[in-house]
């Protein structure tokens, strides 16, 4: 099932980073996520797959409380990050989002320079003491975003002037610049061409060495290529969750099998 060979990395992936228990999400009267239990491991790429409207993006947005910005959205259950409930009253979502970064479906760089795009997060979180510090952080982030070589000569050119794939890698660089522990990616390649997609996938695999990456994707091939663990969502239920190889070769649930063989979706 693997379409491209991605270097296997020996990474220990036993630690549980995020643990969700009995999560229910409602949009007004619509019950979007139904009783989801899932443990997301550290230094692992976890893919959420499923047909459109199955709730995988909604669940992803619960993990850094981006759903808070939607008035009608209500979340129940526990989501623990390193054993701490992120929906605890004492948790400030702003602090949480510095730890749990996010990359969106459509590349959305700020209409500012490449440098400012990456430097924005460190600036507002006070991660740099001076200009040299900040320069270093920006360079490191752009290197981790695998885009440094392409933009190092034009750091002050507008970020919106890059190609789609470059913009998306810039957004990934922007997300890692704040030193998050978890990186959430909401269909990061759906607006990219195959070559840019391959670059981003390569990058995702590299990011695994440092972060816990959770990726929502429509493409089952992509899930198979980049992830170690896969969760299959259907109509708001988490149908099956396990090792990617096992899900794709030997699914336990008939719905999973129907989806990955293309009969539903």
């Amino acid at each position: 099932m693997k379409d491209t060979t991605v270097t296997e990395r020996a990474v220990q992936m036993d630690d549980i980073k995020i643990s969700a228990r009995g999560v229910q999400v409602y949009y007004g009267d619509n019950h979007a996520i139904k009783d989801v239990n899932v443990d997301i491991a550290d230094k692992t790429v976890t893919a959420f797959i499923g047909p459109s409207g199955c709730g995988k993006s909604t669940f992803l947005r619960c993990l850094n409380r981006m759903n808070d910005t939607i008035d009608v959205c209500r979340v129940e259950g526990d989501i623990l990050l390193d054993g701490e409930d992120i929906y605890d009253r004492r948790v400030d979502p702003v602090q949480l989002r510095a730890k749990v970064g996010m990359v969106f479906q459509k590349p959305n760089p700020f209409p500012k320079s490449i440098y400012d795009n990456v430097a924005y997060g460190p600036r507002i979180h006070g991660l740099a003491r001076n200009k040299a510090d900040l320069d270093e952080i920006v360079e490191k982030a752009l290197r981790r975003g695998a885009i440094w070589d392409e933009v190092k000569d034009r750091l002050h050119a507008p970020g919106t002037g890059l190609s789609g794939g470059q913009q998306q890698r810039l957004c990934i660089a922007r997300a890692v610049a704040t030193e998050p522990e978890v990186l959430l990616m909401d269909e990061p390649c759906s607006a990219l061409d195959p070559i840019a997609t391959a670059q981003v996938e390569e990058l995702i695999d590299e990011l695994r060495t440092r972060y816990s990456v959770v990726i929502v994707t429509h493409s089952m091939q992509q899930a198979a290529r980049v992830s170690q663990r896969t969760a299959f969502f259907h109509l708001g239920n988490l149908v099956e969750y396990g090792d990617t190889d096992q899900i794709f070769t030997n699914p336990e649930d008939s719905r999973t099998e129907a989806y990955i063989s293309g009969r539903i979706g």
């Binding site: 702003v94 510095a98 970064g101 969106f104 924005y120 997060g121």
Partner: protein, 441 residues
């Protein structure tokens, strides 16, 4: 599809011929285009008619007839005049003498006495001369050339508004005067030229339209606009940001939203009476003050600014907010660092359009006493500019248009030209700002 369907022979039709349906559809489209052109044409025709009327009637207000005489004033004369009871009366006599001399020098014979001759001049001639002498004492005892404003009748004669027939009922001027004016014009004593005083001067009394100008009402408008800008922009933008980005969506905010939209449609005179009640009767701010005018116009401008600001905040793509929140910015940081700069061109445009609206507003000013012959001197201090009674451009135009003398009617048109120049300039600035700030990349 059944077999019978598949076997029915297809009707032959050529692409080169239009069928009836297509012809009908095309005809409808052509008709619609024609209606559109007619509508646009009618609009343009009205605009053209308006511009022609304004320009043809208004440009005359910018020129004025002057009577130029040479005279030498001695220090003794001035001292004597200043010591007398009727000071400007004495100055008037000096003007009369100077005119007689000038006529004599030009070889124009007349049997009119000094008093009758002076009827050709503005009744402010004596006061103008006195002001000049007091301001320039170094010009005493040496020959000086002085341009006196001609009376509005003489001015009207040169502009073709006054004829010999129309003067038959006039108790001030008669046909003999006009003959004299013809002679003086040939001699170069009477001349019609550009009149700065119309742009810079103060309003004048009913009897001497030739001396009236827009200057002070422009200052009044300026101070009002400062008040509107200082109050309406921060309040309006803050309110819109709160409503758009922070306020929970519930019945209460819905109610506020509906009310703001309704406020934009409230007749301005309602704001006028509100200003009268709140700012003058309750807060006891001075009447006719640009401060009160500005505050009243602020009430009127706020809905415009709030609506346009909210529209431009809404137009900022939500992905920008997501991006900012995603890297851990607080809602306020996301708004002020990312959303507001992107919405800025729209906000500025809305503000300037709101200001332009306020600049042209007359009705509320009627109720707070900013209309009438109010100010004769420019404000001396900044505080005076806000607190001393003054008028505003549209109120001044309204005031002139309702006065009986046709010379004032002409000035009302001229005032409208000045007002329109300001409005066009503001719209131009709005366009410029939008171009400058729109999507900086």
């Amino acid at each position: 599809m059944t077999d019978t369907d598949a076997n029915t022979p297809r009707r032959k039709s050529s692409l080169l011929e239009l069928d009836a349906r297509t012809r009908k559809r095309n005809a409808a489209e052509t008709r619609f285009k024609v209606y559109g052109l007619i509508a646009v044409g009618i609009g343009l025709a009205f605009l053209l008619a308006l511009m022609v009327a304004i320009i043809s009637n208004g440009t005359r207000a910018f020129t004025q007839t002057f009577i130029t005489v040479e005279m030498t004033l001695t220090a003794e004369e001035i001292e004597a005049a200043e010591a007398s009871v009727l000071k400007t009366g004495k100055y008037k006599e000096m003007v009369g003498t100077a005119i007689e001399t000038a006529l004599g020098r030009a070889g124009i014979d007349t049997d009119m006495d000094q008093k009758t001759l002076l009827l050709m001049l503005s009744s402010s001639a004596g006061a103008d001369l006195r002001d000049y002498v007091l301001a320039n004492p170094e010009m005493l005892d040496q020959p000086l050339t002085f341009d006196f404003l001609a009376s509005s009748r003489v001015d009207g004669y040169l502009k073709g508004r006054v004829t010999r027939e129309s003067l038959s009922e006039d108790k001030n001027l008669d046909a003999a005067h006009l003959d004299l004016v013809d002679q003086m014009r040939d001699a170069g004593i009477v001349e019609r030229r550009f009149n700065w005083r119309f742009i810079t001067g103060a309003d004048a009394s009913e009897s001497r339209p030739e001396a009236a100008g827009m200057g002070l009402s422009m200052i009044g408008s300026l101070f009002m606009m400062l008040v509107v800008l200082a109050c309406a922009l921060p309040i309006g933008v803050a309110a819109s940001i709160y409503l758009e980005e922070f306020a929970p969506k519930n019945r209460f905010t819905d109610l506020i939203e509906v009310n703001i939209s309704n406020l934009a449609a409230v007749p301005s005179i309602v704001f006028g009476i509100l200003g009268l009640a709140v700012f003058i009767q309750v807060a006891h701010l001075p009447q006719s003050a640009p401060l009160v005018g500005g505050l009243t116009l602020t009430l009127m401008t706020l809905p415009t600014i709030v609506i346009s600001t909210r529209a431009s905040l809404k137009a900022v793509p939500p992905s920008i907010r997501d991006a900012a929140l995603g890297v851990g910015a607080s809602k306020m940081q996301a708004t002020f660092h990312h959303v507001l700069p992107l919405a800025m061109p729209g906000i500025l445009t809305g503000t300037i359009i709101g200001l332009a609206q306020a600049l042209g507003e007359t009705a509320p000013l009627l109720l707070i006493g900013m209309v009438g012959f109010i100010a004769t001197n420019a404000p001396e201090t900044l505080a005076d500019g806000f607190l001393a009674p003054n008028s505003a451009m549209p109120a001044q135009i309204y005031e002139w248009a309702k006065r009986a003398d046709p010379a004032y009617y002409e000035r009302a048109w001229g005032g409208i030209i000045i007002l329109l120049v300001f409005l066009l300039a503001m719209n131009f600035v709005a366009i410029l700002l939008r171009r400058r700030f729109e999507r900086r990349w």
